[in-house]
């Protein structure tokens, strides 16, 4: 089943890792991208930084913005990012794994709303956020991808994700974008 939503979770060292992944992911893919990068509650220029350094226009998610292929939504500071079937949603409920945004919250919502059409990607980080969420995506038939801990700035987060989903695809950072393009080809190529 072709994928519709790629969810990416990262923490320590994540800005460089996210940049590397979406730089090699074609914006013509039939999927949208949702990113939960751990960050503080202050406003910052992260979205415009990612936009400058990649072929994607990365937008800080606005509540209930429609989810469309080729668009990338970044969790705003101080909010959890969630997805519904066709829209993003935000929440200010308490931090999960000490984090808001939390990767688990994003991934679990993607598992519920997109089922087998969701992909979860766990990148570098020094805690275990994302492990439960990735397991939820796998349980619902979605694709689980984990950055090879050996290529991660911090290995704890991808290692925890692998422990939770032992059959996840393990890829070095530089190979993830190409794999995602293959999993979610441009819609013309699907037909």
């Amino acid at each position: 089943m072709s994928c519709r939503l790629i969810t990416v979770g990262s923490s320590w060292g994540g800005v460089e890792a996210v940049t590397a992944v979406i730089s090699s992911l074609s914006p013509r893919t039939a999927a949208a991208v949702a990113i939960a990068q751990h960050r503080g509650p202050q406003r910052s220029a992260l979205a415009s930084l990612l936009t400058r350094q990649t072929p994607w226009t990365v937008e800080e998610a606005e509540d209930k913005a429609p989810i469309e292929p080729g668009r990338a939504y970044l969790a705003p500071p101080g909010y959890h990012l969630l997805v519904e079937t066709d829209r993003v949603a935000l929440s200010t409920e308490g931090p999960v794994s000490y984090s808001r945004p939390s990767v688990d919250v994003l991934f679990e919502s993607a598992a519920a709303a997109y089922g087998p059409r969701a992909v979860g990607v766990v990148l570098t980080g020094s805690n275990r956020d994302g492990a439960d969420g990735l397991a939820a995506i796998a349980r619902r038939g979605g694709v689980a991808v984990v950055q090879d801990p050996a290529t991660a700035a911090r290995r704890a987060m991808p290692a925890a994700a692998l422990a939770a989903v032992p059959h996840a695809l393990v890829l070095p950072l530089e190979a993830i974008g190409a794999k995602l393009t293959e999993l979610c080809p441009p819609s013309a190529a699907v037909a």
Binding site: A65, G78, A89, T92, E93, R140, V170
Partner: protein, 307 residues
């Protein structure tokens, strides 16, 4: 820990695609039935809450109750009003802080207060006030601008427990450092510590700040408007609603605002995806402050509006 031997190692498939789809559908049914039960038994209508966040909170409550399934939670909710009280708290307590997003409060002071000054008497609705931090922030701001004496703030929430906390006006002492920094960044003109007394139970805020505040239980989902307002502040509340319910609440806000009344939303909320987007103009797009205005004809945008 055994790492997978190769990236393409085949996934063990404990469930077929059909079984997974069935499990997903079953969960949706369980949620629907639970929400229906809560609505019919207690009159609280969460059926149009955004599903993602709602699902999380229902499962969290299920775990905390030591139950194994959403159906189990539904059974307990039906039979045990105390369990319903606990769920209501789960669903209504959200993170709040005094002068949260200082930029918003600075814009209120510099842009909205001059508009409010033009009225002999000011009515403000703080919808979804939770434990009251936002309400006290508004009261402080208006007092410093000399407007509080002719203002009434209606602070409402669906939950009676958080309202009684708001009425008490006691907030954790350890928060005061953060709130003081917010207050200063928001353009506060005095010393923040003048507004509270440190006690054994926390920072007790000056009772004068609530002299013109009416705390009342109000349900945005079911209840109608109850007055006409010059300013409505509703931040990070509508994000928990689905799009059709958001549209209904926006109808209520629009009808409750006087002409040129102001609507203040959370930093990631806007009127953009609502039926009234063309009937407001942004007076501060970054801080999400919108003024109800007559709809302008397309193409005539640059001609009119002295604002």
């Amino acid at each position: 820990m055994a790492l997978p031997v190769s990236p393409s190692a085949p996934a063990p498939a404990p469930l077929s695609a059909a079984a997974r789809a069935e499990a997903a559908e079953r969960e949706e049914i369980e949620i629907d039935v639970l929400l229906e039960a809560v609505w019919r038994r207690y009159g609280f209508d969460f059926r149009q809450y955004a599903r993602g966040s709602l699902r999380r909170r229902l499962w969290r409550r299920t775990d905390l109750e030591g139950l194994a399934s959403l159906s189990g939670l539904q059974e307990r909710l039906l039979h045990d009003p105390a369990c319903m009280e606990r769920l209501l708290l789960d669903l209504s307590i959200n993170v709040t802080a005094m002068f949260r997003d200082p930029g918003f409060h600075r814009a209120l002071r510099t842009t909205v207060v001059p508009l409010l000054r033009t009225y002999p008497f000011v009515r403000i609705w703080n919808a979804g006030c939770s434990t009251g931090e936002e309400t006290y922030s508004l009261a402080i701001l208006l007092a410093e601008e000399g407007l509080y004496d002719r203002t009434r703030i209606y602070a409402t929430d669906i939950n009676a427990t958080v309202l009684s906390q708001a009425r008490a006006g006691v907030f954790p002492l350890e928060k005061m450092q953060e709130y003081t920094a917010n207050y200063v960044a928001a353009g506060g003109t005095r010393s923040f510590s003048e507004y509270y007394t440190a006690g054994y139970d926390g920072a007790r805020f000056d009772g004068a700040l609530t002299a013109n505040v009416v705390f009342a239980q109000h349900n945005l989902v079911a209840d109608h408007s109850f007055n006409e307002f010059h300013l409505i502040v509703c931040r990070n509340v509508l994000i928990y609603f689905d799009t059709p319910l958001q549209a209904r609440v926006h109808d209520c806000f629009f009808e409750s605002l006087v002409r040129f009344g102001v609507l203040g939303l959370g930093p990631k909320e806007s009127v953009a995806f609502t039926p009234h987007q063309h009937e407001y103009e942004a007076i501060d797009a970054t801080e999400r402050l919108y003024r109800k205005s007559v709809p302008r004809r397309r193409g005539a945008a640059s001609a009119a509006s002295p604002a």
